[in-house]
Symmetry: C2
Subunit: 253 residues, 2 copies
């Protein structure tokens, strides 16, 4: 179960934090570390701070993008120190980790941690289904990166000790299928003229939030993409007919 | 409530860990750090790792002994990575922290952390009422010191959010009174001839365990010490009479 969990650190600045995070993971039985564009890795400081967790560092997967790191993942939780205005669902570690284990019982899942200074970007958080906020003193809420990994990994271990697998038979769509759907949707919304601005980020974030709540299954992604394809074809047929019936304005963009 | 909690680090080797522990404390609203004979403190590495918790480091109390660090404390929990044969009570952080808060509601309490390499000594653990073991992978259970502080402080914060003060009216004896009682008892046990060896540590550990379970109140300490005093006086009278009745063996040691 813990074997299906990957810890993804995005754009980590200090290699010592990568090493300390590896150690924190290993103390709680987690072994799969993914690093998105770390500033320095491998690095002697990472080795020093990992102490006995050099195997976790050695097997770490360095990725060039978040989509690469989440390849094959069906469920992603992203850490946030702030409670934002545009948020998906925000849970405490205690609420969230049993839920993560339910998914990890059968398929790969991910825990996503941002940079030391600024956390995750909105774009990165848009790739997650749930946001997790570690309760802290509001006056000084910034945990060290490895300390946050330790708290989350600890909650996972405690949750795993009282874990009962669910009976639900679901086939959640992996990350890349969901991303494929969003890309298809954005393209379609442009084609049909719904998106007219060159900066559709905000609207797409809202749509991501909506679909994050539903936890799309594979078959549902196929259905939705089928609808998108038909919508475009229908739209193309309409345009063609319109041009045919109004040859005088066929030069309109 | 959190203001009555002191974090005591014993004989810490790496000043970076002191700084990281200070930061971990502050994120969870803990501010009172006590250091028993730290190898290097103050130290630039401690400052670097504390980030915004320089106030916790500045106010840290450096002590020459554990008894000095526990002065005035009525309830002490000691961290242990191992489940030992001679143990007091061992609890998980989740079980232990609500209990600590109950005591911290009215009086000073302490969380005791040992060295990076070997944890706490048996003598140090004998000063605690409860041992706390952070659940971890048995194959690799050694958390970084600051990571352990972070997990415990996090559990305290979570526990404080659902804390209801107890209605019990107790007056637990502070650390130094309990220690005074143990010293008195050991001396008395020698005087009355119960302890005959020069190494009474093991027996005293067992007696400590017994009294740790009872959570001695101040008045109870007075009663017990009264009994000890009377026992010694009685024993002295017995000896005097014995010597009087057997003048021939009065040279016995």
């Amino acid at each position: 179960m813990l074997n299906n969990i990957r810890v993804v650190l995005s754009h980590t600045s200090h290699p010592g934090n990568i090493g300390a995070a590896a150690r924190a993971m290993k103390t709680m039985g987690l072994h799969h570390l993914y690093l998105i564009n770390p500033r320095h890795f491998p690095d002697p400081q990472a080795d020093t701070m990992s102490v006995g967790a050099d195997d976790v560092l050695r097997d770490a997967v360095v990725c060039g993008s978040i989509d690469e790191a989440l390849q094959g993942v069906v469920y992603t939780m992203a850490m946030t120190a702030r409670l934002r205005d545009i948020s998906i669902e925000v849970k405490t570690p205690r609420e969230a980790m049993p839920l993560l284990l339910q998914h990890a019982a059968t398929q790969p899942v991910a825990l996503l941690f941002g940079t030391e200074m600024s956390g995750l970007t909105n774009e990165e958080m848009g790739k997650a289904q749930v946001l997790v906020n570690i309760p802290a003193d509001p006056e000084f809420s910034s945990l060290n990166l490895a300390a946050a990994v330790q708290v989350i990994a600890y909650e996972l271990t405690v949750a795993s000790q009282s874990f009962l697998p669910g009976t639900q038979e679901v086939h959640p769509a992996p990350h890349e299928q969901v991303e494929g759907f969003f890309a298809h949707m954005e393209k379609t919304l442009f084609e049909i003229g719904f998106l007219t601005t060159q900066n559709p980020a905000r609207l797409m974030q809202r749509l991501r939030r909506l679909y994050a709540r539903t936890r799309l299954e594979q078959e549902e992604v196929n259905i939705l993409r089928g609808i998108l394809s038909v919508a475009t074809e229908y739209n193309e047929r309409l345009r063609a007919r319109y041009k045919q019936e109004h040859p005088d304005i066929s030069k309109r963009p």
